[in-house]
Symmetry: C2
Subunit: 542 residues, 2 copies
């Protein structure tokens, strides 16, 4: 055990916070992830800034709220004006690299405007959130989108898997009784094993790539973002994981009739989506949920493989490890499929942080109820390298290092915030709204969740008395005061966003009242005889 | 008269909206500016987005609110992520150039991060809001800041004005009885003539530079930002303008005892500034105001010279002309000096727009009460070139072209917004606040002005019954409803800022529900037998 020299930032995709045994799942056994929690701190109240891959990941990778970074949906480029995890961490001597998914969309127009060659080293980093793409793989490769040089497909081909798109035909498809290919995109095939051999499927492949990277690094310091594609759909997993869980181990959906009967208009529109209609049927869930659980079980086994390798290589002694997800999954809860709305199952994520430093020994195995946001990652990493100084004009999160090292005084924060821009979804059209009007905002405290929907009534949930979020108090006369309070806090949060990104708070302090020292004399009568402000403006100059 | 081929965007600095004869000043005669108003439209309800040079100008030059562009104070760099007036207008074949002031601070860190060489053509444009700096001159050159190669100083030296800094010693200083130099920075010298000859002072010099530029352009289309430094301090003007107005023509300050006795804490802190204390004394005003008026009179005469040249060169037939200012000046009103707070005298500006197109004939000479914002400039220019298409993800203003051409249906907007970040001022320290907490927001409708001060009570003024803004209704029980309404509108305004800058609204529309067409199948049971959302997602694909 020793000082943090490396960072391994592991992200799953669409992994709900409660689908781990350490977070209380009664049937899913995840001993390796639980083992990391036993060595580190399990932050059980961790939230993403948006319940969708792209915007959530951009918050993780810039340290900023969605309102601040502007990449509000998948495929919305991250402006070249935004600083990224590489900009922050590379100056600390770390090779910053990616294996897996980011969902980053390059700002081609911004790069063109500023003359950044997309193919140069700078252009590549600018296009990848500052991470060297050892392997970039967003894990969604239908035939129409697949890159002919796609590395994982090349790997599969080298192993003898045939066809133009073995990602689809082998890793994400099952086989019918007559040998026909059954696409994993369709939920009716999800109970079957994927055609690929388990060791050649995406999760073990990415783990292998991460180990290769770390091997190659030797003792040279790194930040590796190991970003798994699963348990995101296509919900299909190879044997033996496909039938490791039975339908009797599928938890019933968390939903109430009243939610559908009296749905908020934005939710009602989302309930009309294909995935919501299908996931609201018990037969569909029975077919898919065991695969979702199997995909997680496979990740856990790969964590075992990864941590074992790190142990023998000495990397457990000098590597801070984060295990988290970009958002959750409705899976039929609340009559919804996919994510994108703001219930707990969608915005709450696992967040386990292991700090090898002996200073963290006192907190090992702790279950920490601190409200954590995804944008706390970069501040935590910077803090571990002693570099969390004067970044508050860019970074909107907080360092978790004090919590990890048992020296957090008081609460880190008293509320978390999330946003959704559903302009790109059919729901926006069902609801008859313009793209700029399809926004939702959340403030969530220990007890309350308040949701503001642009153009619609707000919602309120009492998480203490109604943890399942069935009882919308958005129009309850008894709750007008708490709604007003949370509404105002949301406004205040928006008013105080870090939009002044080009100058630090410290520089502001140093310049306050500094004009006279530059010879700029404002409003003085004469050099000899003048009234000056109280105290003298010169007082303010550093 | 003909189609718009060029744009001449004229800005004064610190010119109050009401210090023109066409806007009602009883003593100041500005026939040339009035003449432009007679040929164009005089927008008498025009407001800047911030009452300070830098942030206000960045709104003019990006078309975005301060919250959106982030350059909240003088010297705060404009992020390289922001698009500028040159980016918008150059594609229309215009040479986009600057003569005078912008107060733009380059984002050196952003350029370095993206490998933009500050000295390259791109680096220069990126540093100058996209304007080719034919002459950049911010007009504030105390000895400690002056650039040894400063062009205007070179000009003065070539004319025989001696010393290291003739800007100060001649153009911005008077002479005492024994020939001693009396700095124009000090208000006690402001009744005296500047030492420089009138034709060599800053305003005529800049006018000459603009004419030279247009001469050089010949018939090649241009956008010229001609940006005067005056009537901004140092408040000193050469003969004959220094004593063209007498103290009997100085309007009394607009202030009430009660404003000082019961001042809002943020205003109370600003009243302690040197300039406020001094401008609150009648003797000081009596000494300075004639110079302020003389500086405006000189600008008006230079407008006469400029427009006469344009007339003979044919430029009045093909050039859209805007005459405006970056903010106003308290000049002792409300017990304040300088600008920076949100009273009318500070945030309301002259806004005269001349459109040579015959389509605008029906509105010539019109006094238009439409609520106009500074960020309407770029949309208006784009519209004049037929290019106002799908920019709403970047530009937050509206085109004034329909109003100019008599085809504006209904009100352009029903409120204007402004912001101030007073973190850099001693007032922030008097008030004991952190840099991130020193923010004020304004919403102003035809009748009401509501001011939200972070951490303090809000203010409300009824402009219909209290045009002087003496009676703060911020705590009036009778006005709780209107305060609540405006508070919520301010929140809504902030929620709907154009922060998603990398993708257009049109692109969002085109992509809405488009995943299935890319082969991404979400939540369907099987190819043959599936429940699809209503209507079918494919419906949404373009």
């Amino acid at each position: 055990m020793g000082q943090v020299r490396n960072i391994l930032f592991i992200m799953c995709d669409q992994l709900r916070w409660d689908y781990l045994s350490c977070n209380g799942h009664p049937h899913l056994d995840t001993p390796h992830i639980d083992g990391l929690a036993a060595k580190g701190v399990n932050f059980v109240n961790a939230f993403v800034q948006s319940p969708l891959c792209g915007p959530s990941r951009m918050s993780y990778l810039t340290g900023r709220y969605v309102h601040s970074h502007g990449a509000t949906w998948n495929g919305v480029p991250l402006s070249v004006g935004q600083t990224n995890i590489g900009d922050f961490m590379r100056p600390h001597g770390l090779r910053c690299a990616l294996v897996g998914k980011t969902h980053m969309e390059p700002d081609e127009e911004g790069m063109k405007r500023l003359g950044v060659d997309r193919m140069s080293a700078l252009g590549v980093l600018t296009s990848e959130c500052g991470l060297e793409p050892v392997e970039r793989d967003d894990g969604l490769w239908p035939d129409k989108l697949v890159d002919p040089n796609y590395a994982y497909n090349e790997y599969l081909k080298s192993k003898g898997y045939d066809g133009d798109n073995p990602w689809h035909d082998w890793a994400n498809a099952a086989e019918g009784p007559d040998g026909e290919i059954l696409s994993g995109w369709y939920l009716n095939s999800n109970h079957l094993p994927a055609r690929v051999k388990e060791e050649d499927s995406e999760t073990p492949y990415m783990t292998g790539r991460a180990i290769e990277f770390m091997e190659e690094q030797g003792d040279a310091p790194f930040l590796l973002h190991l970003s798994y594609i699963k348990p995101h759909w296509p919900y299909i997993v190879p044997a033996p994981y496909h039938d490791m869980y039975g339908t009797d181990q599928v938890l019933p959906p968390v939903r109430a009739e009243a939610e559908r009967d009296n749905a908020h208009p934005v939710l009602a529109a989302h309930m009309k989506h294909t995935e919501s209609l299908n996931f609201s049927m018990d037969d569909v869930r029975a077919n898919v949920m065991p695969a979702y659980m199997g995909l997680i079980k496979q990740i856990d086994d790969q964590m075992g493989r990864l941590f074992a390798w790190m142990e023998q290589a000495g990397r457990m002694d000098d590597t801070m490890i984060v295990f988290t997800s970009d958002h959750g999954d409705y899976l039929g809860d609340h009559w919804l499929g996919e994510k994108e709305m703001l219930h707990e199952c969608s915005i709450r994520v696992p967040m386990i942080v292991y700090d090898p430093d002996p200073a963290a020994d006192s907190t090992r195995g702790r279950r920490d109820e601190t409200l954590v946001e995804s944008l706390d990652m970069i501040p935590t990493f910077l803090d571990a390298f002693g570099g969390l100084v004067d970044k508050e004009h860019l970074l909107e999160g907080e360092s978790l290092l004090p919590a990890l090292r048992g020296r957090q005084d008081g609460a880190l924060r008293d509320a978390v915030f999330a946003e959704i821009d559903y302009a790109f979804k059919p729901a926006r059209v069902y609801a008859g709204r313009e793209p700029a009007e399809a926004r939702g905002y959340m403030i969530r405290t220990d007890r309350w969740k308040y949701l503001l929907w642009e153009g619609y009534r707000s919602q309120l949930f009492d998480l203490e008395n109604d943890p399942d979020e069935f009882d919308d108090l958005g129009e309850s006369a008894d709750h007008a005061d708490i709604r007003a309070e949370l509404h105002e806090r949301l406004f205040r949060w928006l008013r105080t966003r870090a939009t002044r990104i080009t100058i630090s708070e410290e520089a502001v302090r140093n310049r306050t009242g500094g004009a006279p020292k530059q010879g700029i004399i404002i409003g003085e009568w004469s050099p000899e005889e003048t009234i000056k402000g109280d105290p003298d403006p010169d007082y303010w100059v550093e």
